[in-house]
Symmetry: C2
Subunit: 282 residues, 2 copies
C-alpha cells in the first residue's frame, strides 16, 4: 500500500490555524510543532465514508501500531475483531441506534477488554486466575484496549483514513457478544469505524475546553472550570453554526447526557450485563 504520510504540513501558519480550530479561539500556547503533533491536532471525527475498500495491509498496520502501545504489566488484556461483513456491520449499526456510518464504513473494529485469554491459559496449566474476578482487572483490560485503539487511530489517520469511535456498542454488549462469538470475560468496549473520508461531506476539527480546565498544575483546582465554560459554549455554538447544526453549545447538551439512567441509552445496565458475562467486578 502507499507509504505517503498524510499528516498536515508543519508550517508556523499551520500551527496557529490548528490551535485556533482545536480551541475555537487563539490560545496563547507555546506548542512544539512537527508532523506528528500536527497530525494529532488535526484529528476530526469522520462519519461519512467513501464505499471503496481499504488498501491491502491496512489491518496489519493498524494492529502493529495498536500492539506497540503500552500494556499494563505486558498482560496484553485486549483483542480486536475486524468486521467487514455487511450483515454483521448492519447488526452493529442497529445496536448503535442506527448510526449509518457503522453500516457504511468498509471496516468496523470492535475493541475488546479480554480477560478470557489469561483465564484459558490458567485453565490449560491448572493455575488459579482468581485475580481476574476483580474490578481492577476490568480496568486493566479497558485501559489496554483504549491505548491500543488510539495508536491504531493515529496510524490510520497518518495513512489518510478517517475514523469514528462507537461507544454505543455498550448499549447492548450481549448482542455484540452473540454476533461476534465473544466468550465470557470479554467486553466490547467500543467500536471504531474506518474508511476513506468522503471529500463531498468533509469533517471539521471540533473545539475543546480551554487547556486550563483540564490541566492542573501540582494540585487539582476545581474552581477553574466555571469561568471557562461560558466561553467554550460560545465557541461550540460558532462551530455548530459553521456545520449547519443546531447551536446547542456544550454544557446543556453534556448535562442532558448524564441527567439520569434514562439518558444512558441502556448503558445503565452495564454492571448487571458484565456480571452475567462472567466479570467478577469484586
Amino acid at each position: 500500500m502507499s507509504d505517503t504520510d498524510h499528516h498536515a504540513a508543519a508550517t508556523p501558519q499551520a500551527r496557529a490555524a490548528a490551535l485556533r480550530a482545536r480551541y475555537g479561539a487563539d490560545p496563547a500556547l507555546d506548542v512544539a510543532w512537527n508532523a506528528t503533533v500536527a497530525g494529532l491536532l488535526a484529528h476530526r471525527t469522520v462519519r461519512a465514508f467513501r464505499p471503496d475498500p481499504l488498501p491491502a495491509g491496512t489491518l496489519e498496520t493498524l494492529v502493529a501500531a495498536a500492539q506497540s502501545a503500552a500494556s499494563s504489566s505486558n498482560l496484553q488484556t485486549w483483542s480486536v475483531v475486524a468486521v467487514e461483513d455487511p450483515a454483521a456491520k448492519a447488526r452493529l449499526s442497529e445496536v448503535a441506534r442506527g448510526q449509518r456510518h457503522v453500516a457504511e464504513a468498509p471496516l468496523v473494529l470492535v475493541w475488546l477488554a479480554d480477560l478470557s485469554r489469561l483465564e484459558a491459559l490458567g485453565r490449560d496449566r491448572a493455575k488459579a486466575t482468581d485475580g481476574l474476578d476483580y474490578l481492577e482487572m476490568l480496568m486493566v483490560g479497558v485501559v489496554d484496549a483504549a491505548l491500543a485503539a488510539q495508536n491504531a487511530t493515529v496510524a490510520l489517520e497518518s495513512l489518510g483514513l478517517g475514523t469514528v469511535y462507537i461507544g454505543a456498542l455498550r448499549n447492548d454488549p450481549e448482542a455484540v457478544a452473540e454476533l461476534l462469538g465473544l466468550p465470557p470475560n470479554v467486553l466490547a468496549v467500543f467500536g471504531l469505524c474506518v474508511g476513506h473520508p468522503d471529500p463531498a461531506r468533509p469533517a471539521a476539527v471540533k473545539p475543546r475546553l480551554p487547556q486550563d480546565v483540564v490541566l492542573h498544575r501540582g494540585r487539582y483546582e476545581p474552581a477553574q472550570a466555571g469561568r471557562a465554560v461560558a466561553a467554550y459554549d460560545a465557541a461550540m455554538r460558532d462551530f455548530q453554526a459553521g456545520q449547519g447544526m443546531p447551536q446547542a453549545g456544550w454544557s446543556d447538551a453534556a448535562l442532558d447526557r448524564v441527567r439520569g439512567p434514562g439518558s444512558l441509552s441502556g448503558r445503565d445496565r452495564l454492571r448487571e450485563i458484565l456480571e452475567r458475562r462472567g466479570f467478577g467486578l469484586k
Copy 2:
C-alpha cells in the same frame, strides 16, 4: 522549543527491523510505512531519565495532543495533574511501591477519570446528574483519560522524550487523591513519567504476542491463542536475555500476576475505594 521530529527514519530496512523488534520474529506482515507508523512501532518503555528539565512548551504540547483525541459524546470526562514538585513525586513513587523513575522523572502526569466537572456544573445549574452514578460513566471517564494519555505519549515520543505508564497509582488511589487534592468522583487512573531518556541506560522495544492472537477476523476465535504462546514465551526469553533480565518468558509471569487478590498489589480494594470516593458504580 525544538520542532524536530524524532521519529525513526521510514526506510524499508527500518520497517523490517521494527517488525522484528516488535514481534521478536520476522512476521510476514504487509504494513504501510511512514514516519508516524515508524514512530508508533518504535515505542519503548523508558524508565531511566536524565535529570534535565523539559523544554518550555512541553506541557502545552502534550495537553493539546491529549485534547485532540476523541472523547465520548464530547463530555471530556478527564483531567490531568502535572506533578513536578520533588516531594510530591517522591510520595507518588512510594504509592508505586518505590518505583524510582517516578521520583526521578522531571514530570509525572496523573491522568484522571473526572466526573466531578459535570457534577459541579449540574450543581451550579440545579440540574440532576444522576447518570454519573453508573459504572458506565466510570468507563467513559477511564476511556477518555486513556485515549488522551496515549495521544500525549505519541506527541512526547515524537519530540524525543520518553515515557512510562504507572498503573501502580491504583495501589492506593486515596493517597493519590489526598496528595493532589482530588474531589469525589475523580479517579487517578494511571501516572505517566516523562523525561529525556538517559542514553547511558537505553530502553529496548519489547516483543508482543503474534498478531493472530489479538486480531480476530469476523468472529472471535479463542483456539488461536494456545499455539502461539509457546513461541512468544521463547521470544520474550530472548528479549530478557538481551536485557540482562531473568529469562522468565511471558505466560508464567502473566499468570502469576492474576493468580488471586493477593497478587494485585492492593488493587483488589479498588471497588470499595471507588465507592468511598463517590462513584456510584450502579
